[in-house]
């Protein structure tokens, strides 16, 4: 095939023009922590490399219309340095544990979402926070809920000429809401999570008015646990935690068959049983952590 060309558009419009021109023949490079390796080692060969990481319009973090808005090229480190972002405890906790420091310097949440791998920690946190992305193309923009964005292992609903311009997280008014993220790994640093859970809890007195629950590393995509959410609504937090521990094994078993990480592994069965028994604990723990934060008066 023809030689690859490297483009470094100076603004969003130029980037969208290039994307529109090359479409499937283009690969977007943002922080590069995932895609560069695949470009350099021949796994991804495209006519055009479009480097968007330094486009000023994609670098901002702001607030408006009831959302915290995170630009598409904002790095994990930028998030950790931003009080606006760190008001979402689940996001802060998820980002803190991603990769290693030199990955967080370059890597971006938008990239993590665009990559759509099941263990993407950021996915689970963002999903529990009910986040959406704004996909931009030359033709305009559209908002996509995370649960609709990630459609399969490493596949998203983004069109070939779209990029993630920003991520929006809704700010829930009032002080009775908090979130938490937990992951379980064999190794402390830069390990892929064996299981992760993110919860956003909104209380009505001592009763769960609303809980958003997301689980990572249990299926081929990050999972929003709607049935759990329904089951815990209206219950006290303590009862909800017990309900979660009871229900999760079936939830996980249901989805484990889809997880490509299980294929061919000699220990697949035992790993699945482990996940089934442990994720409930993790989700319940995340919920109790969020509850503790509400009691402590944090957002």
């Amino acid at each position: 095939m023809a030689q690859t060309e490297f483009f470094r558009p100076g603004n969003l419009a130029a980037a969208l023009d290039l994307l529109d021109q090359y479409r499937e023949q283009a690969v977007i490079v943002n922080g590069g922590t995932d895609i560069v390796e695949r470009i350099a080692h021949g796994g991804v060969r495209r006519a055009a490399i479009i480097y968007i990481h330094e486009i000023p319009e994609l670098r901002g973090i702001g607030e408006g219309d009831g959302f915290v808005r995170i630009g598409g090229a904002v790095t994990y480190n930028d998030i950790l340095a931003s009080p606006l972002c760190c008001q979402f405890t689940a996001l802060e906790q998820a980002v803190k544990e991603i990769g290693s420091p030199s990955i967080r310097v370059r890597g971006t949440p938008a990239g993590n979402l665009g990559t759509a791998v099941p263990a993407g920690d950021c996915c689970a946190a963002m999903m529990a926070l009910d986040a959406e992305v704004v996909a931009a193309s030359r033709q305009g923009e559209r908002a996509i809920k995370l649960a609709d964005l990630i459609i399969d292992y490493r596949r998203t609903a983004l069109a070939a000429n779209e990029l993630i311009r920003e991520i929006r997280i809704p700010v829930v008014p009032g002080g009775k809401t908090a979130s938490a993220f937990l992951r379980l790994t064999s190794r402390k640093g830069q390990d892929i999570a064996q299981a992760s859970a993110a919860v956003r809890l909104t209380l009505d007195g001592d009763v769960c008015r609303h809980a958003v629950i997301a689980m990572g590393s249990v299926s081929k995509v990050t999972v929003r646990a709607y049935s759990l959410e329904k089951a815990v609504a209206g219950k006290t937090v303590a009862d909800a935690a017990e309900e979660i521990k009871a229900m999760v094994p079936a939830e996980v078993a249901l989805r484990a068959a889809d997880n490509p990480a299980f294929a061919a592994r000699p220990t697949a069965n035992i790993e699945r049983q482990y996940k089934e028994s442990v994720i409930g604990v993790i989700v319940a723990r995340a919920m109790m952590t969020a509850y503790g934060k509400i009691l402590a008066g944090e957002q």
């Binding site: 470094r8 350099a40 420091p101």
Partner: protein, 178 residues
């Protein structure tokens, strides 16, 4: 934005301002170890390969190619990054430091000395990456806690495996700098 990415030979009819024709070599200009330089690279070329093969700076190692081991660590605008996860074209206009740039004219950097003093060097293959990760940490946070140190080098594997002594070395510099 294109001023740092130039064509080796610029065609007369560059229509798109941001377009770089890869059939020609890409010339990337950046500051390396304090000195400005321009280097001709392929568009898919990794910074690690440019440093090692193109510029002969073999203190930067490559040992996994997937960003998991940290031996290719370089400092980009003050922050430790994986040079095996960066295309060289991405560093145009930026400042890059490698292990070769660390020693001063008269003597080696205190972090380098501390690695020797505490016995933090064994086979030595992870050492340049470890030292650069440590330097990026100490430049940003001169008085790190033990946990800060562990966190800063959590992406650098040492198989020999001298983690305890590496942490001692970095801690020693932090305390001596006081």
């Amino acid at each position: 934005m294109t001023s740092d990415v130039q064509l080796a030979t610029r065609p007369a009819d560059v229509s798109a301002r941001d377009r770089v024709d890869a059939a020609k070599n890409l010339v990337v200009s950046f500051v390396l170890n304090g000195k400005p330089l321009s280097v001709a690279v392929a568009p898919t070329e990794l910074l690690a390969d440019t440093l090692r093969e193109g510029l002969g700076l073999t203190g930067t190692k490559v040992a996994c190619g997937t960003g998991d081991c940290g031996t290719c660590t370089a400092i980009l605008d003050g922050e430790a990054v994986r040079s095996c996860l960066m295309l060289t074209a991405m560093v145009a206009g930026k400042t890059v430091e490698t292990i070769e740039g660390l020693a001063g004219e008269s003597d080696i950097h205190p972090i380098q000395q501390a690695f020797i003093d505490t016995g933090a060097v064994q086979c030595g293959y992870c050492t340049p990456g470890m030292i650069l990760a440590a330097k990026a940490l100490l430049d940003e946070n001169p008085k790190p806690s033990a946990d800060d140190i562990k966190e800063a080098i959590s992406g650098n594997l040492c198989r020999c495996t001298g983690y305890t002594k590496i942490i001692e070395a970095i801690d020693k510099v932090a305390n001596a700098v006081a």
